[in-house]
Amino acid sequence: MKSVNELNEIVSQVRRDIVRMVHACQSGHPGGSLGCADVVTTLYFREMKINEEKGSDGFLKFSPSGEGEDLFFLSNGHISPLFYSVLARRGYFAVSELATFRKINSRLQGHPATHEHLPGIRVASGSLGQGLSVAAGAAKAKKIKGDDGTVFVLMGDGEQQEGQIWEAAQFAPHYNLDNLIAIVDWNKQQIDGPTDKVMNNRDIKAKYEAFGWATVDLADGNDIQQVVDAVTKAKELRGKGQPIAILMKSEMGFGVDFMMHTHKWHGTAPNDEQLAKALEQLPQTLGDY
């Protein structure tokens, strides 16, 4: 289990990976990837129970069904650079493979996919609104099997505009999926602008509560200590009959000053000069790939 200080070091490297990956292929989504880096890093390096056994290739053994493990589903699949960096840094595959992101014949597709058999991915995502349903199905399966693992799922706030989210949001409390922890990245930005202007989805927390969820506030999803505290609190709420939603306020583009406080870096790659400027702000801690 990594300490908060160690997590801060890892997440700096993860952020470097993100901007370098997006720069290398001149496409992809740096904004949300940077904003969610702290929570995904914290889950994989501290909070999630995963199989630590390694195969003969030296990488972590990955089982899609994840019996006895905690599972993570990324519903907002466009923040794939973050997902790939964390999986590689955690030991599922070689960090050198991050250089293939979005390039031809790569296992690191633009959006996460199982099709190329990349270890760590359980279902494709990218077409928004589907991850909560899949996670609910996996949580239901754990209940049936008597598996005490927890299922985590990360979603965007713009994604909360999809109708399927609310189908899943009514399903999980109906089946008392109190082994399901959903995290909403409430960064208030989406491609076309501020969420309030594009399609005001108002009080997301009140909606989840009205649907029968227990909720946890995470005031600053870019403060690792606060992330740890919120996930700990969410875990304490397990087993009480309700699924749990963490409402995470985050800053899109966090860690790179010129990518923050705007939706403009949702899906834009930095040029050479911008990359250099970004990397100056993100210390290399684990070594670049």
Partner: protein
């Protein structure tokens, strides 16, 4: 012409229900999900015996597909059930991303397909589902013809690893296939060997093709009748072998002409052995309310239409 008789009429959806009831006893990983249509899908027996393996999803089909994917990832074999209209077009993107592209072992089992849904009318009479599902990479597509074949297909799918779309219907139709049949996915069933024309039929049109074969026999025409229950993967060998003998084909399905079995056969033949083909199906229109028999007659999906198309295609040889 080989004789086919029947002692009773049953709905293909009841064949599905019977198959599920049996799977409930034999396959502990099989689960059933339904979007508020339990009675229509004939799931009562499965649910009664296996309440812990049934997941009622309410009227929320998109979520049902995603939940099915999550169950499949975890090692279960979920059958996601609803009407064909709501299990195909309504959830195409969910099937595409969470099932087909992710290669999750989800069976989409849907009833009330086609015109024979009857009085409910065009809003529910999906006639485009085979086209949609055929176009989906990795998807197995099955449209059985009677109660026994539907039951056998339902059971066979449990041991088939991968996404599948199983389509059946509402009306009672003759039960003419064997109760103890072995269902081989992707393997055509030779209904009748003949030499003058090949009739390739699926679903409810198979019985009509048999009726047509008997009428044609009276006129001295010896029809070969092939039942393609698996639209995808298509048994290409069976069709090519038959066409080598007969030199002309009539296809018959309860579906749009665009994108269904007929199109699959035409693609096969145009690439391998250009052959005159006539197609029975709904021609670029929606359905409407009426009894199943009235609708099948009005839209030309019956034995009389098959006979007419056979004569036409034979004249083109």
């Amino acid at each position: 012409m080989k004789k086919y008789t029947y002692t009773e009429k049953k709905d293909t959806r009841s064949g599905f229900g019977a198959g599920m009831a049996e799977l409930g006893k034999t396959h502990p990983k099989v689960m059933a999900l339904c979007a508020d249509l339990v009675a229509s899908l004939k799931l009562d027996a499965f649910i009664k015996d296996n309440p812990e393996r049934f997941v009622q999803c309410g009227i929320a089909e998109a979520n049902m597909i995603g939940v099915s994917a999550g169950l499949a990832i975890s090692g279960f074999v979920p059958y996601a059930t609803t009407f064909a209209n709501f299990g195909s077009g309504r959830v195409y993107d969910q099937i595409r991303q969470s099932v087909a592209y992710s290669n999750t072992n989800v069976k989409i089992a849907v009833s009330h397909a086609g015109l024979t849904l009857g009085e409910d009318g065009a809003t529910h009479q999906i006639l485009e589902d085979l086209a949609m599902m055929r176009a989906m990479p990795g998807m197995t597509v099955i449209n059985p013809c009677d109660y026994n074949q539907t039951k056998a297909a339902t059971i066979a799918l449990a041991d088939h690893v991968g996404p599948a779309y199983l389509r059946f219907g509402r009306p009672v139709v003759p039960v003419f296939t064997a109760a103890d049949q072995k269902f081989e996915i992707g393997k055509a069933w030779m209904v009748n060997e003949g030499k003058d024309v090949t009739i390739v039929a699926t679903g409810h049109l198979v019985w009509e093709a048999i009726q047509a074969g008997e009428l044609l026999e009276q006129e001295g025409i010896d029809a070969e009748i092939i039942n393609i229950h698996t639209i995808k993967p298509l048994d290409e060998e069976a069709i090519l072998k038959s066409v080598a003998k007969t030199g002309c084909v009539v296809t018959a399905e309860e579906h749009q002409l665009n994108g269904g079995l007929g199109d699959a056969v035409c693609q096969l033949l145009s690439r391998n052995k250009p052959t005159p083909v006539e197609m029975i199906g709904v021609d670029n229109s929606f359905g409407e309310s009426g009894t199943p028999a009235q609708l099948m007659e009005k839209y030309g999906l019956n034995a009389a239409s098959i006979v007419a198309k056979v004569k036409k295609v034979m004249s083109r040889k």
